[in-house]
C-alpha cells in the first residue's frame, strides 16, 4: 500500500511546528495576501521562509494557499508576491483561480495544486487542470470514495482529499452570501459563515414558519474510512482548520497519523482516537460526502454551537534550566490545578506546583494571553500542549 501524506493546517509558525512535532508530513499556510483566511492568523514571507527551511530540514513539506477568486486588481498585487514566493520555494501552491494558476506558472517554478474551491468533481476536470500544469487536485468534498477510485483510474494526477474538519455547506467556492449581506467577499477571505446563522423558513403557500440552523454543516471525521482512502489511491489526507488552536492540530494529527500507520501495518487503530477527537471543539461529526451523498444527518439543525471535552490552556514555547517551561497561556491556570500535558508521546496528568510571570514574580493564577513559566515542568519538548478536561459543553454562537 502506498503511504499517503498527512497534511495539516498551520495558521502560524507555532501551529506549523506543532503539526510537524505530532506527525504531520506537510502543512499548508497562508499570507495576508490572497488566502481565504485573510484576517486570521497568517504568515509573513519571512515566517514562511522559516517554516519552509524547517520543513526541508525535517524532510517535510509546506504548501502555500492562494485560493481566492481573483479580480484583475488582485492579479496585479500578486505578481511581486509570487516572485518572492518563488525565491523561498514552497513545495506547492494551492490555487483555485485559473488566472492565478496561469500567473503562478508564468512567474514561478512552484508546483500547482488545485484547491477544493475549484470544486473538481470528475476526471474531465482533473484532465483539464493537468493540461494547465497542475500536479495535484484537492477534490471537491462532495466526491465519494468510489468516484475517487474512478478518477484515479482515468487520470494520472495526485489526489488530495479532506479527511477532517469544518465543511462548507455549499460546493466550496459556490457561495457569495457574504458579498451581498455583509460586504465581505466570501471567496477573497471575507466569508462570515452565513450558513451557520439561524433562519426562519416561510412557506408562502400556507404561511407556516419554522426556525432552524438550516445550512449548519457538521464537521467531517473519517477515521474509519482511512483504509478505504489509502486503497483508493489518495496521495494526501488533508485536515481543515488553519484558524483552530495548536491543540486541535496536535489532536487531529495524532489521530490520523495513528489511523494511517495502523492501516499500513494492518493492525487495529487506537481505540481511543475517536474519543479524543470528540473532546476537541466540534459541531458534531459525520463522514462528509466520502461514503455517500450527504443528507439530513450532515446538518446540525438544532444548534450552531460547538461541543468540547477539553479546553486549550496554551503551548510550551521554550524549556530552559532557569525557568522550566515557558508558556503563552490561552486560558486561566491556577497553582494546584490538575491539567493534562499532551505531547507527541501521549497525554499525561500534571498538577501545577509553581507558576511565575516574565518578571519572575510568583503567581497564584494567570490570565489568558499571559507569558508564564512553570519551573517544575522540565522534561517536555517545545510545542507540548497544556489542556484541561471540562464537562462537555455546547457553546451556542452569538
Amino acid at each position: 500500500m502506498m503511504r499517503p501524506e498527512l497534511l495539516a493546517p498551520a495558521g502560524n509558525l507555532e501551529k506549523l511546528e506543532t503539526a510537524f512535532s505530532f506527525g504531520a508530513d506537510a502543512v499548508y499556510i497562508g499570507n495576508w495576501i490572497f488566502g481565504l483566511r485573510k484576517f486570521a492568523d497568517n504568515f509573513t514571507l519571512r515566517q514562511m521562509e522559516m517554516g519552509i527551511n524547517l520543513a526541508n530540514r525535517l524532510g517535510k513539506k509546506v504548501y502555500v494557499v492562494l485560493n481566492g477568486f481573483a479580480h484583475d486588481e488582485d492579479l496585479e498585487a500578486l505578481r511581486p508576491y509570487l516572485i518572492e514566493l518563488n525565491r523561498i520555494q514552497p513545495h506547492g501552491f494551492i490555487i483555485s483561480d485559473a488566472g492565478v494558476a496561469s500567473l503562478s506558472q508564468e512567474l514561478t517554478t512552484v508546483p500547482l495544486h488545485v484547491s477544493t474551491q475549484a470544486s473538481v468533481t470528475n476526471a474531465y476536470d482533473c484532465a483539464m487542470w493537468k493540461e494547465l500544469g497542475a500536479t495535484r487536485i484537492v477534490l471537491a468534498r462532495e466526491v465519494t470514495i468510489d468516484q475517487i477510485r474512478e478518477i484515479k483510474r482515468q487520470v494520472d494526477i495526485e489526489l488530495e482529499v479532506f479527511v477532517h474538519g469544518s465543511m462548507c455547506a455549499s460546493y466550496s467556492g459556490k457561495c457569495v452570501i457574504s458579498n451581498y449581506t455583509a460586504a465581505r467577499d466570501s471567496n477573497r477571505g471575507g466569508c462570515i459563515q452565513s450558513c451557520r446563522h439561524t433562519y426562519e423558513l416561510i412557506n408562502e403557500e400556507n404561511g407556516e414558519t419554522e426556525t432552524t440552523h438550516i445550512m449548519n454543516a457538521k464537521d467531517l471525521m473519517t477515521l474509519n474510512l482511512v483504509p478505504d482512502l489509502i486503497d483508493a489511491g489518495v496521495e494526501s489526507f488533508k485536515i481543515e482548520g488553519r484558524m483552530k488552536s495548536p491543540m486541535y492540530v496536535a489532536s487531529v494529527v495524532t489521530a490520523y497519523r495513528d489511523a494511517i500507520e495502523s492501516a499500513l501495518e494492518n493492525r487495529s487503530p487506537d481505540a481511543n482516537a475517536e474519543t479524543e477527537l470528540e473532546k476537541i471543539s466540534n459541531r458534531g461529526y459525520f463522514t462528509g460526502g466520502l461514503d455517500d451523498r450527504p443528507a439530513g444527518e450532515s446538518i446540525n439543525y438544532a444548534t450552531n454551537g460547538h461541543s468540547a471535552g477539553v479546553k486549550y490552556l496554551g503551548s510550551i514555547k521554550s524549556v530552559n534550566e532557569q525557568m522550566g517551561s515557558v508558556i503563552l497561556s490561552r486560558g486561566i491556570l491556577s497553582v494546584g490545578e490538575e491539567i493534562e500535558i499532551q505531547s507527541p508521546t501521549g497525554i499525561y496528568a500534571y498538577t501545577i506546583g509553581e507558576m511565575r510571570d516574565m518578571a519572575g514574580r510568583s503567581l497564584e493564577k494567570c490570565v489568558p494571553s499571559q507569558m508564564i513559566c512553570l519551573p517544575d515542568l522540565r522534561n517536555v519538548p517545545e510545542n507540548t500542549i497544556l489542556r484541561k478536561p471540562i464537562v462537555e459543553v455546547v457553546t451556542e454562537n452569538a
Binding site: 495576508w32 515566517q47 468533481t121 470528475n122 474531465y124 423558513l201 416561510i202 451523498r293 439530513g296 516574565m358
Partner: protein, 399 residues
C-alpha cells in the same frame, strides 16, 4: 447590438420569450440543467429538447439555440450528459453552456463541432482566467460581482464573446446537500421557501431545492434597465434575462422592457430616457426589490483591504507582542533581528498606533541583549499602548 437571451424549459417559455423579443434561447431540461424548474426527472431521455427546438424554429426561424448543462458533474451524471449532447446534436443544437469547465473535454469528444459557453456562477472574475478558459470556451459569462469598469477593462476587443445577466434572481449559494428535505423528510423532491436570516432581519432569501441540491437566491433581483447607455457601451454580446422560477408575466415583461429600452436608445442615443412606467411594470411582476447589485460599484472588503496594505509590507514587520506586564515588560515574538536602539511603530488591534524606541532587549531569562540574534521571544521595557497581539513595524525598511 446585444442579443436578448433567456432560459426556456417549456413550450410556454419558448413562445413567451420569442414573442417578447428574445433572440437566443438557452433550452433546459432539469436532468442536467440544475436550476430548471420544470419536472423532467421522470422522462428518461431528452425528447423535450428536440420538441422545444423545433417549436422555437417554427415560431422564429432565425432564433439562436443553445442547451444548458450546468450540473457539477459526478460520474453518475456522465451517461445522462452524453445522452443530452447526442440528442442536441441530432436536433441541430451545437452550442452548450456549462458550469463545470471539465465538461468541455467530454462534450468536444461527443460533438467536435460544438461551441461552448462557460458560466461558472462564481469565480472566473479576471482577465487571466478568461484567457485560460478561452482555450476551450468560445463564450464566457461575466460574474455578477464584476463592476462595469472592471468589465470594460477586461473585455476590450472581445466583449461580444461575453454574456451578462441584466435581469433576474441572483444565485448566491449552490449546495449538493438538500437541507430542506433533510430537515423534514416528508418534503418532496422539490420545494421552495422564503428564508429570513435572523441576523439580518427583513431580508427574505428564496430557497429552492431539487434533486440536484439546494439553491439560495438574493433578497433582491438584479436589474440593469436604468443603465442601458452604459450597458450598451460595453458591447457585450448577449444580455440575459433570467426568469427561471418566476412567472411567464415576469419573463414577458422583463424581455419586453429591455427590448424596448434598447430599441429606443439605439433610435436616439442622445434623447434616450427610461420611462418610469418601465420600472413600475417590472416591479409589478416581481416579488423582490430591483437593484443593480455590484454592477455600479463593488466596495467589498475595501476598508479591511486598506488596513491590510500596511501589514502587507512585510519588509518592515518586526514581530508581535504576546505578553504585557503593565509598567514592567512586554514580551515580543520576534521575527526579524533587531539591534538596540531601534525606532518602531506599534499597531494595536484595539486601534491606537504608537511610535517609540526599543532601547533595551532581554532574553526570557533576563539576560541583556544588544542584538536579538536568534531569540524568538525577547522582552523589552513596557510601553504604553501595548496590548497582546499588537504588531511591531520597524520605522526603517529592514534588510
Amino acid at each position: 447590438m446585444p442579443k436578448l437571451t433567456t432560459y426556456a424549459a417549456s413550450a410556454e417559455d419558448v413562445k413567451t420569450a420569442i414573442e417578447a423579443g428574445a433572440k437566443h434561447l438557452i433550452l433546459e431540461d432539469a436532468k442536467v440543467s440544475i436550476r430548471c424548474y420544470s419536472d423532467d426527472y421522470k422522462e428518461l431521455h431528452f425528447e423535450k429538447v428536440t420538441y422545444l427546438a423545433n417549436l422555437a424554429r417554427e415560431i422564429s426561424p432565425s432564433i439562436e439555440l443553445s442547451f444548458n448543462i450546468d450540473v457539477m458533474a459526478h460520474d453518475y451524471h456522465l451517461p445522462t450528459i452524453t445522452d443530452a449532447v447526442n440528442t442536441c446534436r441530432y436536433a441541430g443544437i451545437s452550442e452548450f453552456r456549462v458550469q463545470d469547465p471539465g465538461l468541455a473535454l467530454l462534450i468536444k469528444t461527443l460533438h467536435p463541432e460544438a461551441t461552448l459557453t462557460l458560466a461558472t456562477e462564481t469565480g472566473n472574475n479576471n482577465s487571466g482566467s478568461h484567457r485560460v478558459f478561452s482555450r476551450w470556451f468560445a463564450r464566457q459569462m461575466l460574474g455578477n460581482e464584476l463592476t462595469h469598469t472592471e468589465i470594460a477593462a477586461m473585455t476590450q476587443g472581445n466583449a461580444s464573446t461575453f454574456d451578462i445577466q441584466v435581469h433576474g434572481p441572483i444565485l448566491i449559494q449552490y449546495s449538493y446537500r438538500r437541507y430542506m428535505s433533510g430537515f423534514r423528510t416528508s418534503r418532496g423532491e422539490t420545494s421552495r421557501r422564503l428564508a429570513q436570516d435572523l441576523e439580518y432581519p427583513g431580508r427574505y432569501f428564496p430557497f429552492f431545492e431539487n434533486p440536484h441540491g439546494h439553491f439560495m437566491y438574493l433578497f433582491f433581483d438584479r436589474c440593469l434597465i436604468k443603465y442601458i447607455p452604459l450597458l450598451t457601451s460595453l458591447n457585450i454580446g448577449r444580455w440575459i434575462v433570467d426568469a427561471r422560477g418566476e412567472s411567464l408575466a415576469y419573463l414577458k415583461t422583463a424581455l419586453q422592457a429591455y427590448k424596448n429600452a434598447l430599441h429606443e436608445f439605439e433610435q436616439s442615443p442622445t434623447q434616450y430616457e427610461l420611462s418610469p412606467k418601465t420600472i413600475s411594470d417590472l416591479e409589478s411582476v416581481g416579488k423582490r426589490a430591483l437593484k443593480a447589485g455590484f454592477f455600479l460599484a463593488n466596495k467589498t472588503d475595501s476598508e479591511r483591504r486598506l488596513a491590510l496594505k500596511i501589514l502587507q509590507d512585510t519588509s518592515q514587520y518586526l514581530g508581535t507582542i504576546v505578553d504585557v506586564i503593565r509598567g514592567k515588560w512586554i514580551t515580543i515574538e520576534l521575527e526579524r533581528s533587531i539591534s538596540v536602539p531601534s525606532p518602531v511603530t506599534l499597531f494595536s488591534p484595539e486601534g491606537p498606533q504608537v511610535s517609540f524606541n526599543i532601547d533595551s532587549l532581554f532574553t526570557l531569562t533576563d539576560e541583556p541583549l544588544a542584538h536579538s540574534s536568534h531569540n524568538r521571544y525577547v522582552k523589552t521595557a513596557w510601553q504604553k499602548g501595548a496590548v497582546p497581539k499588537s504588531v511591531l513595524l520597524a520605522q526603517e525598511t529592514l534588510d
